[in-house]
Symmetry: C5
Subunit: 330 residues, 5 copies
């Protein structure tokens, strides 16, 4: 799908861009020309690329979904960005973060965007421009590109909000006691943060380049907008690192909870055994069958032998229970 | 709430700034003009901003409470700071540190401060200026801005003092024995330090920019005051890292305490079982009912059979107890 | 084995290079001369090196297989690269990654490649040039060197794909329960990633040098190709770090699985002991042989003594089981 | 306490500096003037400071004991250093390292030193100058300041020697078996190293500034002395990091020792239980009271029943013991 | 011991250098003069130092064995290096790596080497020069210094080979089961790597300085030799880090092996107890002495009571064993 608009402060005009000539004509018209290409067919990208003097390696990068970056060419700036959203309910490896490439080519009076799959972020900006949004019409292609990047980065915050919610749930779950599901949830969060970092860090760098005045196609009046996106990206990097540390903290607590539970189980067992093994021994003694004269268990024949033994055992029990209580084992 | 003063070395004058014209007039008056806006209504910020040529993105940053930073504009410097205080008794996630935004715009002969919520730090400096504090009146808006930042940073030390007290308590608690509350306290401290770091690090950077002579609005005679705040921030970063490491050390000790307790519990159990299982076996033997002739348990009929068995068991017990003592199990 | 071709846009010509004179002649012919040396005999390298003004230390580096690097000499650039592939089924130390040295010397109109062992990557490019590949013939020796490096780096991705598969298997295995084989697999992956890092990091640096326009022998039109390889290498570094972290995560889960299993085993034991030790004690009591009058175990003679004791023990069992169930021990 | 000397190559002269005039006069005298102030009263510092054009913020820094640093003022260099010594026998938090501030102000022909508490390092240099030490008299105030810093840094080595001794003791103690005191000693060392790092790192930076030729008051002939102190500080940083790692290693060993001890205790228990539980069961069998005819425990009446059972049990014991020995459980 | 040679392309001449005059004369002779001092007496170093304008602080550094470094003086370059070799069979703290200082002073046409203890590396180069080695005679003092450094660094590889062998042994030992000796060996390796790092990292820096063309005394034709040594040092740093990580991996495996062993021991104990405690209870039941009428244990009188109970217990055993086998406990 190839769509195109030409816009000036006065208004917006849709263009059909079926042929190379139509693209050339749109480009030549006074005003800013935006050509938006959404296609999983690389050939379509390449056709548009040729009209605007875009290098085939850039198209390849968009198609292959490599790391975000900014490249400054003599007649345009190429920004490769990636959307990122969390896809819940997945269990396969490294697939939790859904991410799409977006290529932005910012010329002096034209903008080309390329999406292997249509993204919400670019679509929204398209609708704004197409609908005649004042702020967009007054500014050049660099401002429209900023709007798209701003939306992409705003979605990153939604992703981290989801991560925060998950970590909150994990922190609560962890204190409830050892549960292997919590452990798996922790590992998923950790993996998500790793995947997200791989998108976030190069994006910060790419937007930083645009905000520092080195790229001709970004006017100095637009720079502060890019700096604003850059600030958000720095904040996102901070948050990501913090969540990584929180995930590590939750893992520590989990490990301690298991260790502590084992400790308590062992105490219970030891108390039970320490109380009952002696008693069992005592009753074992009076179950022996000695019968060889006066020294052979005379207690068995005593009038108060049985009550005395029972009382003795009750006493042992009481003493041990008191002892264990005082030492915090019960 | 919008308050304004105009001050010179000679004295302080309060101004009503209800209208745009009143603001413009106050700004035009000879002397330093300080306009203080405290409001949770962004529109009020924007109204003042326009009079002073402040970019709407700066107002947005204050309102949204983004990371501290310094931005140098042609006609003023924008400093975004954050107060930080520890709010005890909270249990919800990431909410332990209470923090408020403070925006400071330092012009050549004017100062605008914006607070979404009134802060103690700015209020104190306001009272000093309003009350005719000599040092403040003699200096320009850069010095007054320094005073506000200095107070904000001084409060950071109070926060870390609280953290230190908590870690001290944890360190004592940890050695008392395994207690899950200690673990939770540790995690809270760790989370607090992470949150504080997110404020502290960018603040250090923001103040560093002001102390290096690159910002026109900071006079060279005021720079050394900013350098002093910067030194404090460097020290705070140091302290924060140290407390992080101490928290990690406390966690290590806690883990070891649990492991050691389990070790001791197991020793107790093993000692009890090792002493009593053999004895129980022995008395079990003499509880058997064999009766088929001379080889069927003749001991039962011996005159000193019973005393001998009891003595034998006492001997076994003594030997085992001595053995365990020598091996530090008891 | 020494092979040589001379090529121009018009075509390719094979050359015999048995003698020093033949090498000199091939070098002097108009067009690009590529001399490919594959030999485990250093002397053969040195012979060719002398003809092209290559320093003996460079030959030594290729032969000894030191770290990848780029060195810029007055009349040529020396790139030392390493192939890397995973060799499964090995158990000896540090030998899992099979890696070969490739030396590339890029002159103004000549290219010399040296391989101690024939590599697939150079062989493929050789076949392309020898077969008259259009893109290769139109470009200079810097482009052909790029093609070889590009293939080497593409193989790195295959290696990491294998590593990812192994980590996926480990992650699944880890959750099945404690199994020492999983632990050994984890350690192997970790070691592989360490060995690969030792190749990857310096390669990134070496290719970075070539892509920054400082090396005369790399034309500005070829630079963007080297930048593309560089991007891939940056991505590979990212992936390697991510896999290291995933391996660490898997180890954490493994440790927790073992700790949790021990916890559960202990609970089982404690439940069994807590139920049966009291019961065994009770039956022991009624196995005692007291017989000295009315207080000596009168229960033994009661009509419902036996059923009462049996019922009592059943009751104790039920209570304990209910208690343990409520506390999640069963 | 304020002391002052004026010295030249020819000799040393003591001065009374009770009044501001006396200070001014001492300063104006030909030769190098050293004013040493030792006082816990900040006012005394400030009085001297004013005479030498020292900024009040510098005095405040010395008084508050902030991080070591060098600040270059137009007419002098300000060096803030800290002594550090290990104070054994303390148990309160963060108090193990005793540290004092020393402020050094190096002018073109004067030196002012300020100590809130008298330090051994400055006292020794004072005695050397006062006693007419040749090397000191021939050089300027920069050399005397170096002498003081050199002594301070030499004492750091003594501190680390103590730390090393403690780690040695811990490493020996750790292998003796689990002992909570060792754990506490480890934590103390770790905390000491953290506190020391907070002094050491900024000191390295502060001395580095002095050794790089940027500070006017340090003559080029004195620079190599500062470089020597800098080398020592680099070495101290190295040592500190190494000791941190050794402390971590000792903690690892400790954890393993506890885990291993638990492992062995469990083995003992399991061996005891595995041997005795079956035997106790067997003797229990022959303690049953069946009596209903030919199938009711005929073994009890056999002539060799008892010896056979005893032999059988001995056999079981032997087999189990052999089995456990072969599996390294005994 | 002070030895001296003067050499040119034409030949080598030994010189006696007993007196200051003899040294001066040797230095003044046409050709390169190498004075080699081996002595544990600092005075001997200082005597030679004075003749060549070497600063006393440099001599002190060699004598005290501080960190390796390069210092560029107006008339010579000072390189302080350290040999390193592994001394097996030692158990005292921090003493496993044997290391000696070597000071190299490279002048325009002279070389002074100072060794507190004779080192193999310098001795070999001395023998080469003294024996008339062609390559040495043709080059200047910078090349001879390179030769000595090259040998020192080659020995570092031998040291790491030993470390690798030890780690291999540890990795094998670790999988055999928990053994405290393995733990101690691991700690030793870790400590060795830490000590070696303290030598290696500054050496890399020191040689890097020599290879970058900033030091006058190193001719541009010799630089590539220093670059070669530098490459080796970078590789050594890489290896050291890798071995540190391998040591950490081995520790992880060791910890897991102990945890897993404890897990298995517990399973054994639990299986034994779970099978035998119920059986012991059952036989206990039939050992009770109830005798009060028809409800008092009538089973005891049944004809098939005993075989039925025995069968029942066999059945319980079989069921439990099957159950445990299915759950992988046996
Ligand atoms: Mg992190
Ligand atoms: Mg972090
Ligand atoms: Mg960190
Ligand atoms: Mg990290
Ligand atoms: Mg971290
Ligand atoms: Mg951390
Ligand atoms: Mg840290
Ligand atoms: Mg730290
Ligand atoms: Mg950290
Ligand atoms: Mg740290
Ligand atoms: Mg650290
Ligand atoms: Mg640490
Ligand atoms: Mg990493
Ligand atoms: Mg990483
Ligand atoms: Mg990391
Ligand atoms: Mg990492
Ligand atoms: Mg990590
Ligand atoms: Mg460290
Ligand atoms: Mg370190
Ligand atoms: Mg560290
Ligand atoms: Mg370290
Ligand atoms: Mg480290
Ligand atoms: Mg370490
Ligand atoms: Mg760690
Ligand atoms: Mg490392
Ligand atoms: Mg590393
Ligand atoms: Mg490290
Ligand atoms: Mg490492
Ligand atoms: Mg690392
Ligand atoms: Mg690492
Ligand atoms: Mg690691």
């Amino acid at each position: 799908m190839i769509d195109a608009v030409v816009y000036t402060v006065e208004g917006v005009e849709r263009r059909d861009v079926d042929s190379v000539e139509a693209i050339e004509e749109a480009k030549a018209t006074a005003g800013t020309t935006w050509v938006r290409v959404v296609s999983d067919d690389r050939a379509e990208f390449e056709r548009v690329a040729e009209s605007f003097g875009i290098h085939p390696l850039s198209v390849e990068d968009i198609h292959n979904g490599v790391r975000p970056k900014t490249e400054d060419y003599p007649n345009h700036a190429f920004v490769l960005a990636r959307t990122a959203r969390l896809r819940r309910g997945e269990t396969t490896f490294d697939e939790e973060i859904r991410s799409e490439s977006v290529g932005l080519f910012v010329g002096p009076d034209w903008l080309v965007t390329m999406e292997p799959a249509a993204t919400d972020a670019v679509a929204r900006v398209w609708r704004a421009v197409d609908g005649g949004d004042d702020r967009a019409l007054q500014a050049g292609p660099d401002y429209v590109a900023y709007r798209a990047l701003d939306r992409i980065v705003d979605d990153y915050f939604l992703l981290l909000d989801d991560v925060e919610t998950t970590i909150e749930e994990i922190e609560e779950g962890v204190l409830d006691g050892p549960d292997p599901d919590v452990l798996e949830a922790l590992n998923t969060v950790r993996r998500d943060l790793l995947s997200f970092r791989k998108i976030l860090w190069p994006t910060r760098e790419a937007v930083g380049v645009l905000s520092r005045g080195d790229v001709d196609e970004v006017r100095s009046s637009t720079e502060k907008y890019y700096r604003d996106v850059y600030d958000h990206l720095v904040e996102l990097v901070d948050l990501t690192e913090t969540y990584r540390d929180l995930a590590r903290g939750a893992r520590d607590i989990y490990q301690n909870t298991v260790a502590q539970s084992t400790n308590e189980v062992m105490k219970t067992l030891t108390v039970v055994a320490t109380v009952l093994l002696p008693l069992t021994f005592v009753v074992g003694v009076y179950g022996m069958n000695f019968s060889g004269g006066p020294y052979a268990m005379p207690e068995l024949g005593w009038r108060f032998g049985y009550p005395a033994v029972m009382l003795g055992m009750a006493l042992i029990t009481v003493i041990l229970v008191v002892y264990f209580r005082e030492n915090d084992w019960l």
